[in-house]
Amino acid sequence: MNRRVVSKTEVVADAKPPKKSRLSLRAWREQHLYSFFSSLGRLSARPWATTLTLAVLSLALAFPLLFWLLLDNARGLSGTVEDARSISVFLKVGTDMPAVNAMAEKLRHHPDVTSVVVKSPEQGLEEFRAHSGFADALNVLHYNPLPALLIVDPRAASAGDVDPAPALVEEFGRDPAVDQVQYDAQWKQRLNAILQLAQRGAAVLAVLLGLAALLVIGNTVRLDIQGRADEIAVMQLLGADNGFVRRPFLYIGFWYGALAGVLSLILIGFVEWALAAPLTALASSYDHRFGVHGLSIAQMGIVFVASAVLGWLGAWIAASRHIALGQPT
């Protein structure tokens, strides 16, 4: 018994138990730095597997982004078809000018019409020659194939009132002298509806592919955790808490997400570059009535941050599910 007393004094003198209950800020920083670099080391230790995972991830991120970019550009295009509320009434070919003018006069007195502009077939031909680039082809024709055109501006619908335009379109269509009625606003409405649908589709696609990215990262991290089960067990035996064991895996997720984000931005940049020349040519043929734009710097920043967060999150889900073993219940 007295032996025990002697040795107790020794322990006080020599073996100081580590009594820190909370890690200092410096220790915290050092552990994060360690995880930061060791996770990079783990990724570079398996370059092929890492590259493959990154390729899948960056494609999953780039697809919805490209789709969204396409829609954003299409939206700009539909915006340039400025509030085209006018109704184009094409009369049958061969209707003589007095009849055309009489019809215009009649329409001017319609209560739902504010103005009518008459375009004779000759005027139409001139405009067509000037803008379409088919001047030579038109010269071959011995007659004017164009109809007379009435451009009718309907009364603007005031608040709480029914838009009179659709009714007008129908009314004009019933006239036997009328060949075809074209209402741009209707076309624009349809385009907008289609764009809205596509935009919703892009959002759904983005969510699904984002989920896929999350699963890919989660699964990669899960496999990594399984491959390092021995190492994790040793660390836990040495007193590592779950946070310490989890941290390198979270950084791996972060690296996957961040690198995939950069790669997807490069991919989008490449697509933009590949399409730039033909798109500019197309735009110039439309008198530059629409411009093509890519991602802004701020949007790129958002993509980068979002993908890094996504990676971290995927790793966190996998790590919290698969670590925490090796502790008694």
Partner: protein, 226 residues
Amino acid sequence: MIRFEHVSKRYSAHHDALVELNFELGAGEMAFITGHSGAGKSTLLKLVALLERPTRGKVVVNGHDHGKLRRGRIPQARRGIGMVFQDHRLLMDRSVFDNVALPLLIAGTSREETAKRVRASLDKVGLLGREAEPPVNLSTGEQQRVGIARAIVVKPPVLIADEPTGNLDPQLSAEIMALFGEFQQVGTTVLIASHDLPLVKRMGKRVLVLDHGKLIDDFKPTSRPA
């Protein structure tokens, strides 16, 4: 330092690993646990290392009651217990230095202090100068020494070892055991499971003998060796 009060560990209805164990190891005391395989040596060490909790009774190590310790406090409690394994359990993809430094990294020791302590620890086991090598370059005995260096680098009050000489020849075994004796002399409580009876006898320390989960003998040396 290590106290077992009426400790039983039951894995299943037909398997009692430990039955009504009572013993106490004071600070700076060194003891061996022997017994045939399956007698409960490993289970006893697992209870000390917090790998298992007792089914009944009380296990107190470093002042922590292992039965009542919350899960979140387990890692902290383990840092006060150095562990040496038969198969040393080194991380083979890291250098000797990194292996020994791991407990310090976990404990949040500064880099300068870590370097100092790792070197001191390796010096103690006679492997100073081998820090940069991977463990595969070392012999089995040397690997076990690295495992010991890792266990003592945080200067834990309690050091436990499960068959630390199981894979070593008699000469190396004696050297390793002598090393453990040195740690006891600086005040560490040392508990070693071993079935190498001749070696255990030669050490002249306290010996706990287990049989079918029961403590059947507790030899205490009559005089404390220097």
